[in-house]
Structure formats: structure tokens, C-alpha cells
Amino acid sequence: MTREEIIRPENKVYSRPRLIDDNYMHYCPGCSHGVAHKLVAEVIEEMGLEDKAIGIAPVGCSVFAYNYIDCDWIEAAHGRAPALATAASRLNPDKVVFTYQGDGDLAAIGSAETIHACTRGENIVIIMINNGIYGMTGGQMSPCTILGAKTATSPYGRRADLNGFPLKVSNMVALLDGTCYVTRQAVHTVQAVRKAKNALKKAFKNAIEKKGTSFIEIVGTCSSGWKLTPEKSNKWMEENMFANYPLGDIKDTSAGLEEKTVEVKK
């Protein structure tokens, strides 16, 4: 078969999601943000939420997320995305509100907003990209930097006695009663990408059905910050990050909440 015979619209099995804009992404080569953006766009498209989804963009590398995904966006102050999402979802109960944040934004300056949005059980989706570094400002240590990791502000590796221990945000918010679904995913292999997409779908479904806060942590890479090639970054992440941040569902009470949700609706 020739190439021309294969490349026809009816044979297409995968293409750029319709909601990803034509703009070139500013991310470094191999950045996990690109795949995560693609997944969010695919999920919004497949669930038919284009006119209903409101994204809250953070401060950090993904500050220009509104340039890449074609839905409604609000740009929040540093770390305040969950607070803004609370307002957006309470004022527009028929909309689906999600935040897209990095670990520096969510776990450092925005930790209070995150914890309180989760404990209030706001019907929003919080997507956190955890690459253990402040990528945008030049690779400084973030609360989620793992022990021993070299960054611009911990050049000899993070030490527990000097810098404290890494913050496991997902485990922390799983303890709160307001969250209904807390999971940790990655996007480095095809298998992981599929799992992450299913997790995102479930989270958006929970937000539509008003079951509480869904928290998706995506463990990602920062090739520039880690000073590795994208391929080696993925390997380093598998060997070191996953030991600290094991993948999988941490909490899922969304199934058991169905009766309660019906009562509230009455």
C-alpha cells in the first residue's frame, strides 16, 4: 500500500484535539504540560463541555494555558486558582470549573486556598502538575522537590535537616472530607496517558454531578529544570519521583455519594 492510499480522512485514528489551538506552545521540548493540555482538551471535547467548561489558569509555566485550549479561562493571581474556581462555580452552578496548576503554585503560595477549597467540598476539578521544581523562574526548589534532588537553590541536593521533607499534597487532601476523588497519575508512557485521561474524565463527571472536589495530581517532568534530556527525565522520574509519589487512586468515594447527591437535589 502506498502512503497516499493510507493517508486519507477515513483512515485517521489520531490527530490533534480540536480544542487545541494553532498557536505553538511555549513549553520546552518534552514538557509534560503539552500532554496534559492535550488530555484536558480531549476530555472537554469528548464530554461535550466546550461551552460549559471554565478553566482557571495559574501562575507558572502553564500561565498561558488560555492560549492553547479553546474554552473559557480566567487568569488567577499566584496560587489563588481554587479560590477563583470557588467563586466561578458558585456563581455559575451549571458550568464545570477546573483549575490547572503547577506544584509551585498549588503547594507553596496556594496551599491554604487549595486545602480550604477541598475541605469545603467545592464542585470543582483541581489538576496539579507535579514536577518538583519551579520551572518558569529558573529551576528553584519547590515544596514537592524530592530529597536529594539538585535545583538552583539546593545545588547539593535537598536535605531534610535544612529544607524539610517533600509535601505530598494528594495524600494530604485525601484526608479531607470534601474531596471525593483523589488520584496521582503520570503522562510519560502510552499506558499512563490512557489512565490519566480516564481519571480526568471521572473528575469532570464528579464535578458535573456535584459530588465534591476532585483532585488529579499528574507527576510530570521538567527537562530544563532537571538538566536532563526528555528521555532521561522520564527515566529519572520513574526511578526517583515515583518512589516518593506512587501512582494510583488515593481516594474514591464518588460512587458511594450518589444517594446523598439525589437528596441534595430534592
Binding site: V13, R16, Y24, P29, S32, V190, P230, E231
Partner: protein, 76 residues
């Protein structure tokens, strides 16, 4: 036994040459241009070993810049 023919197209100006698709491909179809670069100076990916493609879309799923389109034909 059905035979699967696949093909990929890569939007060369969008590609940043991160090499992730090359690693993800199970059939060693893709490779980075050794010398040629796109407008932004990246060695973009191209299907070097086109006949081996089975259209599994593994490259496209891990591509952070969404520049790969995948086509597949199953001949029975």
C-alpha cells in the same frame, strides 16, 4: 491474517525534536532529522522507516506538542 498498514504525518514547524515519539514507537519507525532543522531550529522528527508503521498512535499520544497525525488501514 489481516495486515495492518499505518502512516504518520508530522507537522514539522510544530515539532520541537524532544525525541519522545522516537522512544515510544514500538516499531522504530520515527527518527529525528540528523541535519535539517525547522524554522525554530529544532531537529524535527520524521518517519524514517515508513513501511514498519502499524498505526498504533503511541507516538501521537506521548507527543507534547500535538504535531503527529496517525492513519491506519487493516487489509483483510
Amino acid at each position: 491474517m489481516p495486515k495492518i498498514h499505518g502512516a504518520v504525518t508530522i507537522e514539522k514547524e510544530r515539532c520541537k525534536g524532544c525525541d519522545l515519539c522516537v522512544v515510544a514507537c514500538p516499531c522504530d519507525v520515527l527518527s529525528l532529522q540528523p541535519k535539517e532543522v525547522n524554522d525554530r531550529g529544532y531537529h524535527f522528527a520524521y518517519p524514517a522507516n515508513e513501511e514498519a508503521c502499524i498505526g498504533c498512535a503511541a507516538c501521537a499520544m506521548v507527543c507534547p506538542d500535538a504535531c503527529i497525525e496517525v492513519y491506519r488501514v487493516v487489509v483483510k
